[in-house]
Every structure is written in structure tokens, then in C-alpha cells.
Symmetry: C2
Subunit: 298 residues, 2 copies
């Protein structure tokens, strides 16, 4: 798709493409074990903003990555993200019953199925990337390593653990930032770097620029989440609003206040743009995604 295509059209096109790829890379509906596979498809398909896949495709434009590699990278990060939501919603974690406007997996099915859906989706993510035979094997290994690191205890799971331990504590801004850099930021960064890697190796300088961009949008994403959680209603969000405040979880809004949080999100958006300067025109979609992340309403 041409760089001149309006952002909204590009986004819809990538979302449709990713939906189709996810449908193809998930176990087929009706295949044994039927209930598990049905629940995996229920979890992943038909919803979500697909922010991570959009980042993969936008970053792919930096290195001219081919579509076959990008759709696998996009599907893999989205499966990791989807599994984390399923486990996060379970009664022993956030105990949430609404997600993307639909009953959560343990509500629609049962807790044991939700546990297995998450476990199986994580394995499926690595399988989808390991099956990406259009890539040179050494690059594929680098991508698998990156995803495993971002998903594990030094990335997303580590952030979840810090989040759990911080309920009821009063965190400093730095501690809150560190938690989110792992919990949400690690997978957003992985999406950007995987997309760029899908097209070629990266110089240390390019990687550093993408890290700066990723950190900025990762934090912005969370600041905006906190603002929306404090100001929007459940119907708009497609999930339970006001949940963090009710759970006495520290948020940017509870630490900084509402208006300073909005100002911080705007500052991070500018930081993200600045980091992309060396990439010139090729980073157009990444710039637009930074804008989307900060200006979204849900």
C-alpha cells in the first residue's frame, strides 16, 4: 500500500490483513481439541485495536520488509498480547468479566480453559515465528529470542509481577514507569523491532532510535490508558472502567493528576516523533501511530 494512502485506510487495511493472518495461523476451527481451539479463536479473532500488529507493519516500512514475514511477526506479538489479557482477566489476577466488549474467556468458557488458552497461545506465537520460512534462519532466531525476552520475566511477565506487588503501595513516578516499561512497553518495543528486523539487520544507531521511539509510545500508551480509565465509561472502553482506582492501583492520574498526565502524554508523543527523524519519510506510519496512541478515545 502506497505511503500516500490516508492513515485511516492504511490502518483498516492492515487490521483486516492481520485478522486474516491470525485466522490462518491459529489452529483450525473444529480441529481436535475442539473446545480449546474454539476458545483460542474466540480470544484472538474479531476484536482489538491491533496496536502491536500496526507497529510491526509500520516498522516494516523502514526496512522494506516483505509482507509474509510481517504477517507472521504481527500474528506472533498479537498472540502473546492476547494470551496475557486472558490470564490477566482471570479471577486470581484482575478478575474482569468484560474485554473488547465480550465476556472474558474464563466467563465465556471456564477458568481451566482460560488457563490453557493462554498457555497454548504463547506456544502458538513462537510456532508462528519459527515457521516463518521466508526469513534467513539467523534473523529468525534473533526474532524468536527478542520475542521470548519481551514476553518473559524480564519483560511482560516481570511487569505483571511488579504490578501485582504494587497494589496498595504508593509508588514513585520512576517505579511506576519501570513497571509499565516491562508490562506494556516490552511487547510494544518488540513489535517495532520485529517489524524492522523482518526486512533486514539493524545498525546499533537504528536500534537505539527505535528504542527511544518505543519507550516514548510505550509510556504514552499507559498514561493514556490511565487517563481513559479515569474518564471514559465501560461501554466506550469495551472493558470495565475505573477498575484501577477501585483496586487501589497506582496510576499516572493518581500520582500526577489528570491534566499533568495529559500533558505528559503529549510530551511523549513529541519525543517519539523526534526519535524517528533519522528515518525520514519511511517512518511516516510510525509517526501516525504515535499520534493515534496519544489521541485515541478508547
Amino acid at each position: 500500500m502506497s505511503p500516500a494512502t490516508p492513515f485511516g485506510d492504511w490502518m483498516k487495511s492492515v487490521q483486516a490483513h492481520v485478522e486474516e493472518a491470525l485466522g490462518a495461523f491459529l489452529p483450525a476451527a473444529g480441529s481436535t481439541p475442539v473446545k480449546l481451539h474454539e476458545a483460542m479463536r474466540y480470544t484472538v479473532l474479531g476484536g482489538g485495536k491491533r496496536v502491536r500488529p500496526l507497529l510491526v507493519f509500520a516498522a516494516g516500512a523502514l526496512s522494506g520488509a516483505d509482507t509474509r514475514a510481517l504477517e507472521r511477526a504481527a500474528a506472533a506479538v498479537e498472540m502473546i498480547h492476547a494470551y496475557s489479557l486472558v490470564h490477566d482477566d482471570m479471577p486470581c489476577m484482575d478478575d474482569d468479566d468484560l474485554r473488547r466488549g465480550k465476556p472474558t474467556v474464563h466467563v465465556a468458557y471456564d477458568e481451566a480453559t482460560a488457563l490453557l488458552v493462554g498457555d497454548a497461545l504463547q506456544a502458538q506465537a513462537f510456532l508462528v515465528l519459527a515457521d516463518a520460512d521466508s526469513l534467513p534462519p539467523a534473523r529468525q532466531v534473533a526474532m524468536l529470542r527478542l520475542l521470548a525476552h519481551a514476553a518473559g520475566s524480564h519483560g511482560m511477565c516481570g511487569g505483571q509481577a511488579i504490578d501485582l506487588d504494587s497494589v496498595g503501595l504508593s509508588l514513585t513516578l520512576e517505579q511506576l514507569e519501570q513497571m509499565h516499561q516491562l508490562k506494556t512497553g516490552a511487547l510494544l518495543r518488540a513489535s517495532v523491532v520485529l517489524g524492522a528486523l523482518a526486512g533486514g539487520d539493524l545498525s546499533a544507531q537504528q536500534l537505539a532510535a527505535l528504542d527511544t521511539y518505543s519507550n516514548a509510545i510505550g509510556l504514552a500508551f499507559q498514561v493514556v490508558d490511565d487517563v481513559l480509565d479515569a474518564t471514559a465509561d465501560s461501554a466506550t472502553l469495551g472493558k470495565t472502567a475505573g477498575k484501577d482506582a477501585a483496586a487501589n492501583k497506582p496510576t499516572y492520574v493518581s500520582i500526577l493528576g489528570l491534566e499533568p498526565s495529559r500533558a505528559l502524554a503529549e510530551k511523549l508523543r513529541c519525543d517519539a516523533h523526534e526519535a524517528l527523524a533519522p528515518f525520514g519519510e519511511k517512518a511516516g506510519r510510525l509517526r501516525e501511530l504515535a499520534d493515534l496512541i496519544v489521541q485515541r478515545k478508547a
Copy 2:
């Protein structure tokens, strides 16, 4: 270690080696997030028969695999196995409070931590294999693909799902066998094939022979588990005995009876030996492991 070393000594040596490798490949104790990393180490270290790592090392002898590759493959399968036990023991699954003679993770810590420990261990398993830089990248990708397939919904998780759905049902012997081939068999097979692959590519004929061996020991493993569950006490097993019968789960003993189950295990042991014939002397440790699996008392 020389093939002439007595089996018991070889086994102890591999177990000690794997314990050390696991300690090195797990996140360091005391590193952030401290509680999660402590719980991951609690889960994996200091116990277990290490059947899967033993299979990796035994199969490595077929192809002269180097130790550095074998210890990564062994650690990876053991981490997948350990995570599955943590999730399997949770209240929404088997609700067990004793494992390897120690309190299960959700008892020693809490349910949310157990959930995250399992999730993080799965990611860590793929990371350990993706970091195996002594292997050619193409072989590494093949090994990552194999592990992801064995762990996911067409392997271990799929078997768990079928197991869950079969509680209270009267399965045929064929259905029970299919369930176990996924639930336990897939990862045992992966251990054997990973070990052999660590040393070189396999011919279709070699792979078929290892599949026959793996299927035989996989089923034997489960038949013996059912026999032990019905006959041994909790102290000997290091986990709650008689659990399957109490949960009204179909077992080999409940379908076939005790003595026919013992006879089946012995027949499978012979099948396993027969499958290894083409490998000659090099398969000595795999033969001894088949004997161990059938003749173990816990």
C-alpha cells in the same frame, strides 16, 4: 562420560549437570522482580526425576551432540514441563498442594504468582533455546519449532484440554491413549528428538525409529503413573496418591485393571528396545531409560 559408566552413575551425573545448567539459565536469584524470580527457581530447582533432560542427553549420544547444545535443550524441555506442573496444580485445574514433596507454587506463594511463574517459564524455555549459539541457526529454528509444537495445542496443552473434558466420561482405550500421547507423550518425544537433533540432522528413517521409541516410552510412562497412583502412597510419590481415582478420571488401571496394566507397560518396554535396534550400541542409554521408566517406584 564413557558408555561403560554404570547407568546409575550416568544418571546422577546428568541430573547434577542439568541442575547446574537450569540454575544458570534461570533468572538470577535476587534480580528484579525478586519474588517472581525466586518462585521460578523454587519451581524448577532442587527436585524432579529429570526424565526429559535424561532423554535429551541419552538421545544426544546417537548423534554425538555437544554438551553445550544438550544442556540448553534439556533445560528448555524441563522448563516447559515444570511450568505445566505449576499450572496443572492450580485450584482451577487439579487443585493439588503437594508436588515433588514440596508445597505447590500457588500454596508456597499465591495463585497469581503461580500463573505468572508458569507463563514466564514457558517464555524462558524458548529464550534458552534461542540463545543456543553453538548450533547452526537453521537447526536451532527446527528445534524451536519442534518445542513450540510439542508444548502447544497440538501437543501438551491439547492433551490437557482433552484430559479436562474427559473427567467423569468413560473413555475407550484408544481415546485414553490419544489423550496421553498429547499430554505427556508430545514433550517426551520432543526431548528425544531435540537431543538427537542437537548433534545433527536426522534421516526420515531415524526419525521414524525415534518416534516409535518415544510413543512406546510415552505410553509406558503414563501406564506406570496410573499403576503407581493406584498402588503407592503419597510419601513415596512426593505428590497426592489416589487422586485420579478420587477425581473419577479414566486411567489405564480403571479401564484395563492392575495386572493387565503392568503387562502392557512391560510390552511397551520391549517395543521401545526393538525400535532402537538400528542405532546399535549408541542407543544404550535410551534403552536403560526405557527400563527405568517402566521399573520406577515413584
